[in-house]
């Protein structure tokens, strides 16, 4: 009919083509590149679904940061790659897997097509209670106020993942620094970018957090931009990753959840519930939590990409 549904179909088609490529590509690096492209296209889908906050998260974390991680892993695994052709699944197993997957996909499709028609929604509740925090962005409201417990635990999950990654270190590197991601060419094009871009990136990252009170954005998206700037500086060889055993680093890592927890307990102490904010102060309190969080999350994300310690702390 009109141009918009056609555009939706077009986007969905490309998303599916790239998804098939990600699964079917013979070379792992090609598959990873396909996955990054898939994430960027998916961000477009999220915009079409009326979720710009999710679109930003998907582009920044789901595609960008995860892409960097996957490309690094694929590069390192390349040495052992050709030796796997011997143990592919046989024809019968393949058909069985295909049937199973098709059945699951069909079941999901049927469920999605037969959802109840005035759809149940918490949107009106979110709108009705938005005045409590005086934030204009409903998603930030949900993340930071209505379901703040989820967000706090999510920080803890990030930290736990980092602990898991760190514990992959060999004994001699325990508490040390990750493998240097410095590139060979000290005067290469990356160095200029790493000297010019990070200040702009810092302004951009913090502004994404700052505007998230009323506009799309948020602490995670901003933190991802900051982490990317940090990684850029590291990759250009302009700095080194801090040692995992450093006290200051550990302080930064626990600062975000600690502030969050303190505020939560404060709410409990003031007679209201855990993680309840005094209504008059809700907005500033949320911003304080977010600013503390952005530092922790940016550091954690950067360290997750940098990987487990492989060098000793000295040097």
């Amino acid at each position: 009919m009109t141009i918009v549904p056609a555009l939706d179909l077009f986007v969905a088609g490309i998303v599916l083509i790239v998804a098939v490529w990600t699964v079917a590509a013979r070379d792992t690096m090609s598959a990873v590149v396909g996955f990054v492209a898939y994430g960027l296209l998916l961000a477009l889908v999220w915009v079409r679904l009326g979720a710009p906050d999710v679109a930003l998260t998907e582009a920044a974390i789901g595609s960008g940061l995860a892409g960097a991680l996957l490309i690094g892993a694929a590069t390192r695994l390349r040495a052992g790659e050709p030796s796997v052709s011997t143990e592919r699944l046989g024809g019968a197993g393949r058909v069985l897997a295909m049937t199973l997957s098709a059945v699951v996909a069909a079941a999901v499709a049927v469920v999605l097509l037969s959802l109840p028609d005035p759809a149940p929604s918490l949107a009106s509740e979110a709108a009705a209670n938005a005045g409590v925090t005086s934030l204009g962005n409903p998603v930030t409201n949900v993340l930071m106020a209505f379901r703040a417990m989820d967000t706090m635990l999510e920080k803890v999950v990030l930290l736990l993942a980092l602990l898991g990654v760190w514990s992959m270190a060999r004994d001699h590197a325990w508490g040390g620094r990750p493998r240097s991601c410095r590139r060979a060419d000290p005067e290469g094009p990356l160095v200029l970018l790493a000297r010019v871009l990070p200040p702009v990136g810092v302004v951009l990252g913090i502004s994404v957090l700052w505007v998230s009170a009323d506009h799309p954005g948020g602490a995670f998206q901003g933190a991802t931009i900051l982490a990317a700037m940090w990684l850029l500086v590291l990759m250009a060889g302009l700095g080194d990753v801090p040692a995992a055993g450093g006290r200051r680093l550990r302080l930064v890592l626990v600062a975000g959840p600690a502030v969050f927890l303190t505020v939560g307990l404060g709410g409990l102490a003031l007679g209201a519930a855990f993680l309840s904010y005094p209504p008059a102060w809700a907005k500033p309190v949320i911003l304080v939590i977010e600013f503390a969080m952005v530092l922790t999350v940016a550091t954690t994300l950067g360290l997750l990409v940098a990987g487990p310690p492989e060098r000793s702390a000295e040097r």
Partner: protein, 172 residues
């Protein structure tokens, strides 16, 4: 970050710092708005970003040249149009008129930040993509370029770009 340079910055170079801070504050107001609270936070963020900028890219004593910079910007815009038209013409021509090859440009600048800026700049110029350094003749090394048309006066064009750019950015 960039700890190794912090010791060389005993005295804060005031003028470059102010110029950079103004630019970064400008970016902040574009992104975040101009309300009183926005500006208050913006000042803090700008201070942070300016500090980072001075560490990553130490300020030089060279004076700013707005006229030369404007000329460079206008030249860049014009060359961008030429470059786009050039590539589009070659790509859409049924005969695919390409005479690609590698040309070594004997750069006057030594490897360093200025050269990085120069290669970044020329990578957006018509018909050239820098692909690395090459040992040139007579001691000084050159920059190798991949060219769409090796019969075009590539070296003369690059020399002109270098002259214009060195009028604006510091030569090391």
């Amino acid at each position: 970050m960039a700890q190794q340079q912090s010791s060389t910055q005993d005295r804060v170079p005031v003028r470059p710092a102010l110029v950079r801070a103004a630019l970064l504050l400008g970016v902040w107001t574009i992104l975040a708005g101009t309300g009183p609270a926005d500006l208050l936070v913006g000042l803090g963020v700008t201070a942070l970003a300016t500090r980072l900028s001075l560490r990553l890219l130490p300020a030089t004593s060279r004076r700013y040249r707005p006229v030369a910079a404007t000329r460079l910007a206008l030249r860049f815009l014009r060359q961008s149009v030429v470059a786009g038209l050039d590539v589009a013409r070659r790509a859409l021509d049924p005969r695919l008129p390409l005479r690609t090859g590698v040309v070594t440009y004997p750069a006057h600048c030594r490897p360093g930040l200025f050269r990085s800026a120069f290669t970044a700049f020329t990578s957006l110029q018509p018909g050239t993509v820098p692909i690395g350094s090459a040992p040139g003749g007579s001691g000084s090394d050159g920059i190798t370029y991949h060219c769409l048309d090796v019969h075009a006066p590539v070296v003369a064009q690059l020399a002109a770009e270098e002259a214009v750019l060195s009028g604006v950015v510091r030569h090391e």
